[in-house]
């Protein structure tokens, strides 16, 4: 480059000075004439004038000049302590590093000597060194440069002598040698090992960065400056000036968020720095991006920034196919590992450098990495937020099952004699976990980029993958089929669940005869079969499981308790209450021998026991047990868990039977809300909840609403359980009952008939369910004015109840009262009176709303028989109970008021009589259905106004 020729210097200076003093607008004209055609002069003047404005140049920036001078000005020391300085290696924010040597005992020792620069608090540094030197001296590791000595120079500057390392920063090494991902990971594991060694000795590096992580020419890692950062750390009080901020800024690129924020620095901070370093090595760029930014920007990015995915960063950093290939290599495991190492919250990071190294090792051995486990939970959380809760719960169910597998694997590990089995179990659990992880990731909408998957699709995908034989190991397949079967059951996909469990069980029978895993498979299939109504097969399977488990010397009490509970439920369902109770109690006893937390299982058993009491009509005991179970579950499961809703629903049923309809309705609605939120609208549990709610509605006289809900339940049951399931029959019965109350007799009778058919098939000719169907049908016929047809049905029903229910069971009382009413209609007053009295006797002293109707029936009979005093007393009492327990517009309450009015009039108390009937009139005119019609007809006949 040649310099342009310069015009006459003096003339240039003069013209420049003059031009500068001229106004802008006059300058151009003046220049034109002054230069008089000298193009070179004119050009140069224009150039200088253009450069005449701007910031005034004076000197080199005094701070930087100072650093420059300092780095050169002072004479290099010839000796520091007992070391002779050979060369200067470099300088840093904290001082200068020299190569020095010491001759001691004829042995020449070369060291890197770090001379701390002036201005650092020398006394404090040396004091800290005295404190730390014992610890630092313990750091003996081939990959850690040893700290040999610390001291101070004659002019009071601290220095540290460290093992001299001839090496280059790891980043330089990696790029110079073009290291492969595998080679980088190998080095990284070495680095982690060294850091872990330090951490075990309670030394945190605090300043891990490429210039402190060196690689020797032999390719070995060597970490320098361990513990130095802490020695040099200033106390916060004196650390407020710009230089300290500056010093901190020097290493910002590798600092953890907590370091930037000035919070407590722990081993997790080193893990973070290792993460940044590894990120840079693998991706070829910093996680914070390549462009330089201000200290403030950096701090903000470290504090707030989500670190990008490793593979995405690598893709951006490398153009073309190389970038794509690298991104593919890094995607997945290493993305997850780096994300975990670089988690903003220290608690979410790897707990140690060792844990990081282990995961890198797993990745290198193609084993599933741990980093993906929390990511999986994290994704599950996102699932929960983004999907209907039901789907999320399917995912959560899978995760819970996986957690369970891990738990058993660990417990199994403890039994030394079964070590081999345990290890294969553990390996299996891991394979299962890996499979599910991949599966969940495949349905993560963030990863699929499309619409979120439904839980059904999740299952489909899982089964597909199992069928594709990706698993190889039949044991793993058996385990997974079970997991998927369990999920299917949770989702209410019972047929699919059964198929999966059958496949799983077949594999287990083949591969693991006599094992706890086989028992688990038997239980799993039995649970689905139970819900599907195949009780006989379920029982056979459970008995097989029980035999197997009782025959094994070290059966886990929890597993046995589960088998016993399932059997208990089955016996309970078959009304073998005593046997069911014995099973539950044995299970409870077993759980008491387990050391761990068994509250969840205990709660389940208590609730089931409560259910037994409820079925036996022992409502107080039932309520106590169910409330206890509910409290346990609330504590263990939290307020939104669907399991809670089951117990809540059962408690509500007890309350309903005890006559607390308001309380029952409230609990039922709450349980329904929980189930719906957790399981979605189409789930057997939700159907049960709806049914329970409708039953309370019916009790309270809201027949229209009840009928609508029962129809919903029926549709759900048919869809979920099939046309001939017993639950379909229950729903038909319930719906028919409400329809009869509304006067829709034809549909009611058809429904009862269909239900009867199904129940005879599924529950047996003489089952309690058939009995209930008979009784309900009879009530409908009686309402329709066909008491002659009703009577034999009631007699049959009561006969069956006598075989299946406790003598004082509320259902019996209800049926006897119904028979009393039919007998009244048939004109057999004497028999009717006896039945009413029987029914009331069964109820005891309870002020139950269902006692109102038989009391009124009896009262009317007494009134007709002119037993006025007794009738009045009875009817006063009935009206009292009705007012206390029934809504104002309930037909029985209105009936009680009217009967009381008649009695009062019969006694000549017309004023009160008129008042009593007055109150009932408004409701009377609005009521729909045969009971109301009958009341209105009676009122017209007796001439009451």
């Amino acid at each position: 480059m040649t310099m342009p020729p310069e015009p006459d210097p003096t003339r240039l200076e003069e013209l420049f000075a003059t031009a500068l003093e001229l106004d802008h607008d006059r300058r151009a004209g003046w220049l034109e004439s002054a230069c008089a055609g000298d193009q070179l002069l004119r050009q140069r003047l224009d150039q200088l004038l253009a450069a005449s404005s701007g910031e005034e140049l004076s000197a080199i920036d005094p701070t930087r000049a100072a650093r420059l001078i300092e780095s050169n000005l002072q004479p290099e020391p010839e000796e520091i302590g007992s070391y002779r300085i050979i060369d200067r290696l470099g300088e840093g924010g904290m001082g200068t590093v020299y190569l020095a040597e010491r001759v001691e005992g004829g042995f020449e020792q070369r060291v890197a000597l770090k001379l701390i620069k002036r201005g650092m608090d020398s006394d404090a540094i040396l004091a800290r060194f005295q404190q730390e030197r014992q610890i630092l001296a313990r750091l003996e590791h081939p990959a850690i440069a040893r700290l040999l000595e610390g001291g101070s120079t004659t002019d009071g500057r601290p220095y540290f002598a460290m093992e001299y390392v001839e090496g280059v920063p790891i980043t330089v090494h990696a790029s110079e040698r073009r290291l492969s991902v595998e080679a980088i990971l190998e080095l990284a594991v070495e680095v982690c090992d060294a850091v872990q060694h330090a951490h075990r000795n309670l030394v945190v590096h605090r300043d891990l960065k490429p210039s402190n992580v060196l690689v020797t020419s032999a390719g070995r890692v060597k970490l320098v400056d361990f513990g130095i950062a802490k020695l040099l750390a200033r106390d916060e009080a004196e650390g407020s000036d710009a230089t300290v901020l500056g010093a901190r800024a020097l290493t910002l690129d590798y600092a953890s968020p907590e370091q930037v924020k000035g919070e407590v620095v722990t081993t997790a901070s080193d893990v973070y720095s290792l993460g940044v370093l590894l990120f840079e090595l693998l991706a070829g760029c910093s996680p914070y991006g390549a462009e330089p930014s201000s200290v403030e920007q950096k701090i903000r990015r470290i504090e707030e920034g989500d670190v990008p995915r490793l593979s995405a960063a690598a893709r951006r950093a490398h153009p073309g196919e190389h970038g794509r290939a690298l991104a593919r290599r890094l995607a997945g495991d290493l993305d997850a590992v780096l994300a975990k190492a670089l988690a903003r919250d220290p608690a979410r990071r790897y707990a140690s450098a060792e844990a990081l190294a282990e995961d890198l090792g797993r990745h290198r051995r193609s084993e599933p990495v741990r980093a993906r486990a929390p990511a999986r939970w994290y994704r599950a959380e996102r699932f929960l937020r983004r999907h209907r809760l039901g789907v999320a719960l399917a995912a959560a169910a899978i995760l819970a099952l996986v957690a369970g597998l891990a738990g058993t694997a660990w417990q199994a590990r403890v039994a030394a004699r079964e070590r081999d089995r345990a290890e294969s179990h553990a390996a299996r659990a891991e394979a299962v976990q890996d499979f599910l992880t991949t599966l969940l990731q495949s349905v993560d909408p963030y990863r699929t980029g499309g619409a979120p998957w439904t839980a059904e699709e999740l299952l489909d995908r899982g089964v597909e993958r199992i069928d594709a034989g990706a698993l190889g190991n039949p044991l793993v397949a058996a385990e997974l089929l079970g997991v998927m079967g369990g999920v299917g059951r949770s989702l209410g996909q019972l047929e699919r669940s059964e198929t999966l469990w059958r496949r799983s069980l077949a594999l287990r029978r083949e591969q693991l005869p006599g094992s706890p895993e086989l028992a688990e498979g038997l239980r799993g299939l039995a649970a689905v079969l139970y819900i599907r109504g195949s009780h006989d097969e379920a029982e056979a399977l459970l008995l097989e499981a029980l035999e197997l488990e009782r025959g094994r010397p070290r059966t886990e009490p929890r597993a046995l308790a589960r088998t016993l509970e399932q059997l208990g439920v089955l016996l309970h369902e078959r009304s073998q209450h005593a046997a069911a109770r014995a099973h539950y109690q044995e299970a409870l006893g077993l759980l008491r021998t387990v050391a761990g937390d068994t509250r969840a299982e205990t709660a389940g058993l208590l609730a089931n026991l409560g259910g037994l009491h409820q079925a036996a009509g022992e409502l107080e005991a039932a309520e106590t047990l169910q409330r206890e179970a509910l409290e346990l579950e609330l504590a263990v499961l939290g307020p939104a868990h669907p399991g809670l809703a089951v117990t809540m629903g059962n408690l509500a049923a007890t309350l309903r039977q005890r006559g607390d309809w308001e309380g029952a309705e409230r609990l039922h609605r709450e349980a329904l809300a929980i189930s719906r939120a957790a399981l979605g609208d189409e789930h057997p549990e939700v159907a049960t909840k709806l049914s329970n709610l409708a039953a309370v509605l019916r009790s309270r006289g809201a027949h229209e609403e009840a009928a609508a809900v029962f129809r919903e339940v029926l549709a759900l049951d048919r869809k979920l359980l099939g046309e001939r399931h017993a639950y379909v029959a229950f729903s038909l019965d319930n719906l028919a009952g409400s329809l009869a109350e509304l006067g829709e007799l034809d549909e009611a009778l058809a429904s009862f008939a269909l239900a009867h058919e199904i129940l005879r098939e599924s529950r047996g000719e003489r089952s309690v369910e058939v009995a209930s169907n008979r009784v309900s049908t009879a009530v409908a016929l009686a309402l329709a004015g066909r008491p002659a047809e009703a009577e034999p049905l009631l007699v049959t029903g009561l006969e069956l109840y006598g075989e299946t229910l406790a003598p004082n069971h509320p259902r019996r009382a209800r049926a006897i009262a119904a028979l009393g009413a039919v007998l009244v209609d048939l004109g057999r007053d004497g028999e009717a009176e006896a039945h009413f009295r029987d029914a009331l006797e069964l109820r005891g002293q309870a002020r139950h709303p269902e006692t109102v109707a038989p009391m009124v029936g009896l009262g009317r009979l007494l009134l007709r028989g002119r037993a006025l005093d007794e009738a009045l007393a009875l009817l006063e009492s009935a009206a009292d109970i009705a007012r206390e327990t029934l809504p104002g517009e309930h037909v029985d309450r209105v009936g009680a008021e009217l009967a009381l009015a008649s009695a009062l009039r019969a006694r000549g108390d017309h004023a009160r009589g008129a008042g009593a009937s007055q109150a009932a009139h408004a409701a009377l005119s609005r009521g729909i259905g045969p009971r109301w019609q009958r009341l209105r007809a009676e009122l017209a006949a007796t001439g009451g106004s």
Binding site: I60, A65, A66, G90, R118, E166, D225
Partner: protein, 199 residues
């Protein structure tokens, strides 16, 4: 004080103008150079971690230390400050050169080279660029270059400079404006920006 006598003696030999007596300057600069280095060292040591280089203070301190004001002839202040500015410039340039030599020759990557090093390197480059530009400026425009040198490396103000050089302040201002425009156009916008604004 051998050094002090030496400096004073050299100053006594000085002629009417600095440009005319390069010999004096050439003898003076090395004497001042060592002292400035020492003074700079001391100043930085005193400053501690608030590291700034106050060239003005340094040069004045050197004058007091190196020259016996009573013995020195009238006008020798100008000689001395001219020499001091040149020496200061030399100190910085030498530091920068050493720095660069180190960087090129070393291949030193062992232990603890940090960002700090990169900053010092950048400063070294700036110093060398400014030195080179000033040299070229001095070739065609000696007085503006001198004024600029005094300003940049001895931190002298306009009045002081005018007095030292025996010219009107208006001339100093004109020279400064010219030198600055010249340097800006020479160093280019990017390099120019690395120089700090004046006091």
């Amino acid at each position: 004080m051998r050094l002090r006598e030496q400096v004073t003696a050299v100053l006594a030999q000085a002629g009417e103008s600095i440009e005319e007596d390069r010999r004096v300057l050439d003898r003076l600069v090395p004497l001042v150079y060592d002292e400035l280095r020492r003074l700079a060292h001391r100043q930085l040591a005193r400053e501690g971690h608030r590291l700034t280089l106050d060239t003005t203070a340094l040069v004045h301190e050197a004058w007091l230390k190196l020259v016996d004001g009573h013995q020195a002839p009238v006008g020798s202040r100008a000689y001395f400050f001219g020499a001091a500015a040149r020496a200061m410039r030399q100190v910085l340039v030498d530091a920068a050169r050493r720095r660069r030599r180190h960087k090129r020759g070393g291949g030193i990557t062992a232990t603890t080279l940090e960002e700090e090093s990169a900053r010092i390197d950048a400063t070294a480059d700036e110093v060398l660029a400014l030195d080179l530009a000033l040299e070229r400026l001095a070739a065609a425009h000696p007085r503006p270059a001198r004024v600029m040198e005094l300003r940049c490396f001895a931190g002298l103000g306009v009045d002081e400079t005018a007095e030292l050089l025996g010219v009107a302040t208006r001339t100093v201002n004109r020279d400064l404006a010219f030198a600055q425009a010249w340097l800006r156009s020479e160093l280019g916008a990017s390099n120019g920006a690395t120089l700090a604004p004046g006091p």
